[in-house]
């Protein structure tokens, strides 16, 4: 393993990391090539992510209190969400939108490339696959990878510039995440019994003193 305390090595490391984080590389393993839902010519999409690397990223960005099952569920839902995205579908155009706007292109190819970049970076800097690194070293690589996102605001998943942010944002926008943060069972943005709205939400036992 390289001595990362060396300034020269650290500069090299950062240079490589920056380049890799910004470069869209070719796809990686464990992908599936499927026709898009509408099967229109030219709309086939490659779906899926390298699950081992994604899980290793999830272990860094998602809270540990989810446990492995909760983390796996969050990652699984993220993958389904990404796979079922319909690129360039019409955006909602309600009041305030005088024109028709469209959603962005499929972000997954860039996100796959970013996972591949993390893997390459781990190999170059630590001579180990990303998933095999200790959590602290993975966090350092992820931190470097997302340094282009300078805002404190967690973006909408589709607007995320890096898959690590997208995964975190996707989970954080879920009713479960909000309930965990609030420490009570609200289940926002879900269809619920109207009469229950009057009651103070029940606490989630074991959270927040």
């Amino acid at each position: 393993m390289a001595d990362r305390s060396s300034p020269a090595d650290r500069r090299t490391f950062l240079k490589i990391a920056g380049a890799l984080a910004a470069t869209a590389a070719s796809g990686c393993e464990l992908q599936t090539h499927i026709p898009a839902a509408n099967s229109a010519p030219g709309t086939d999409r490659t779906t899926g992510f390298d699950r081992a690397i994604l899980e290793a990223v999830g272990d860094v960005v998602l809270p540990s209190e989810l446990g492995s099952m909760g983390r796996d569920a969050a990652i699984g839902q993220f993958v389904i969400w990404a796979d079922e995205y319909d690129p360039v579908a019409e955006e909602m155009h309600g009041y305030g939108y005088a024109d028709i706007r469209y959603l962005p292109p499929d972000p997954s190819p860039a996100w796959r490339a970013q996972l591949a970049a993390l893997e390459l970076l781990a190999m170059k800097s630590h001579r180990k696959p990303f998933a095999a690194l200790p959590r602290a070293e993975r966090e350092e690589l992820v931190t470097i990878a997302i340094r282009g996102h300078v805002s404190d605001r967690l973006p909408a998943p589709l607007d995320a510039t890096h898959i690590a942010i997208a995964l975190l944002a996707h989970w954080a926008s879920s009713p479960d995440a909000w309930d965990l943060a609030l420490g009570v069972k609200v289940v926002p943005a879900s269809c619920r019994v109207l009469g229950d709205a009057n009651a103070k939400p029940l606490p989630i036992i074991g959270l927040r003193s």
Partner: protein, 535 residues
């Protein structure tokens, strides 16, 4: 060439048209034909999935709900390109307040704006009818502020846990609030489910608890009381040069055939909203009517009205739980009257729970990334407490030159110039704007102080031009030289032409407008039935 014969022809199928058609179907045996340029959009059965995709990706839940080449330009903040069976109200939020009595008499009471040619009292029965046809859930506010002839048809949506705390705070600040009236089923009603506070009323209710016009159209078509013809764009109305009566509507299919269509009728009802109604009249210019139809006054397309808002987020020493029912609010009409000693300012007031300032974030104040447990710990600290959102729509008086005109270059596939909108405040309104907005800001600061809270952030309308809940373009009045239609919506210049709802309004009030648009339209429908009784 396709030829259609009708007795009553309604052009447009939005919410006003739907409820007018329902009334006419009950009050006349005359045949009713409705022409809609768009087509039906996402059916109720598909709205659960559509909602899920809207939440997941921001996808429009409303499929095939517009025509690519039929759009407005200019200052179009309040404009939506939706052109479909049900119109814009397919994605409305269901909020259904009445205007206040003062809205109808601003000139005689306060010396500004224009009095309507009828009063709140005249409109009350039609407000009631609109509320009953849509199924509005509400509670009456203090009688002096919120007069009404009969109770709401449905009990109010609950003042939920969050709103109850906000209501106590508002009371401390000296403000009476109540559950915002909404066209949402607080109880099962009209074959539709009770609201399940899914919190996507805008843009899509997955259960059908929120009223949308497709329910009315489905029932009318099923019972064969109305003939609904879709994908047919009316491009011109033709007037008899001698009598002035409208004799034909002509247009084209908007499908691949583009087939020309001619419709003859005895009564023509223009119910195409504040943009497309005056647009069609202007398009229908001929040698006999060089400025367009119904335009002796030169006011077709003029006096476009709307209102602006000031919006703020306040932090309060309460414990609220964002998400209990984000789209439901408290309302007050306390500020819809001008204080005796004051300059002219009228506004509504709404209060919501909010998650602003309580969201997770990616970096802390030092710019360090927050990942995993650090993010969660930071989020928990931020999530405690309470944020309230407050917003006031304030009255904006329209200028004569607040107008819709035909665009010089933009055309649809048929070569028709598209509308361009240019909203302008009347000089008296423009002069008041800074003072009015400061008064509202001061109110919000007082409210925060009363609750021992603080102002988190405040913002004015993004549009800043006064077009929210827009109206006008075919304003009503008694004088044919200063209005387009009479107080019933009948064109001064064409005995058998009626304009319905929003475009006829001299002003846009200072609250959500849809209920008033419909009530005004129902009043017109009553006059149509009376003016041309069954043969």
């Amino acid at each position: 060439m396709k030829t259609i014969e009708a007795d009553i022809l309604i052009i447009g199928s939005g919410i006003t048209a739907a409820l007018m058609a329902a009334r006419l179907a009950e009050t006349t045996t005359r045949s009713i034909t409705v022409i809609e340029a768009g087509q039906s959009t996402t059916p109720l059965a598909a709205r659960t999935k559509a909602r899920a995709r809207f939440l997941a990706y921001g996808e429009s839940p409303w499929k095939q709900d517009h025509l690519d080449d039929q759009n407005a330009f200019g200052t179009t903040w309040g404009f939506s390109p939706s052109m479909t069976v049900g119109g814009l109200a397919m994605h409305w939020g269901g909020v259904s307040p009445r205007y206040s009595p003062e809205d109808f008499t601003t000139r005689s009471q306060y010396g500004v704006g224009t009095d309507w040619p009828f009063t709140y009292g005249d409109l009350d029965p039609f407000y009631q009818e609109a509320e009953e046809r849509m199924g509005v859930a509400g509670e009456q506010g203090p009688v002096a502020l919120d007069p009404r002839g009969k109770p709401y048809p449905l009990p109010p949506l609950p003042v939920n846990y969050n709103l109850a705390q906000l209501q106590r705070w508002a009371t401390t600040a000296g403000i009476a609030t109540w559950s915002t009236p909404s066209a949402k089923n607080s109880v099962p009603h009209d074959g539709r489910a009770q609201c399940q506070r899914c919190d996507t009323c805008y843009p899509v209710c997955p259960t059908g608890a929120k009223y949308s016009p497709d329910f009315t159209w489905d029932a009318l078509v099923r019972s064969k009381k109305v003939t609904l013809i879709t994908q047919t764009l009316v491009r011109r109305l033709i007037a008899d040069p001698k009598t002035g009566a409208i004799v034909q509507a002509t247009g084209n299919r908007v499908d691949a055939t583009g087939e020309p269509v001619t419709i003859t009728a005895n009564t023509f009802v223009l119910a195409a909203g504040f943009t497309w109604s005056p647009h069609l009249l202007l398009l229908s210019r001929t040698a006999a009517h060089p400025d367009g139809l119904a335009n002796r006054s030169g006011l077709v397309g003029k006096y476009l009205a709307g209102h602006r808002n000031v919006n703020a987020y306040l932090t309060l020493p309460l414990e609220l739980y964002p998400g209990i029912n984000v789209q439901h609010s408290l309302v007050s009409k306390q500020f819809m009257r001008v204080p005796r000693s004051g300059r002219y300012l009228r506004h509504d007031l709404r209060l919501w729970e909010s998650s602003v300032g309580r969201e997770p974030r990616l970096r802390n104040e030092q710019g360090s990334p927050l990942l995993g447990d650090a993010m969660m710990s930071d989020w928990r600290a931020r999530a405690t407490g309470a944020t309230a959102r407050v917003r006031a729509y304030y009255d904006v008086l329209p200028d004569r030159e607040s107008k819709l005109t035909l665009h010089a270059t933009r055309q649809n596939r048929f070569g028709d110039p598209m509308p361009t909108l240019d909203f302008r405040d009347a000089p008296e309104s423009a002069a008041l704007k800074p003072w009015q907005e400061e008064q509202i800001a001061a109110l919000f600061r007082r409210m925060a102080a009363a609750g021992k809270g603080k102002l988190l952030k405040m913002e004015n309308s993004v549009n800043d031009l006064g077009q929210e809940h827009p109206t006008g373009g075919c304003r009503m009045g008694d004088d044919p030289m200063s209005s387009v239609v009479d107080k019933w919506g009948r064109a001064h210049d064409h005995e058998n032409l009626w304009v319905a709802g929003a475009p006829t309004q001299p002003s846009a009030g200072c609250c959500n407008g849809t209920l008033t648009f419909v009530a005004v339209g129902l009043r017109t429908a009553s006059a149509i039935a009376e003016a041309s009784p069954d043969a």
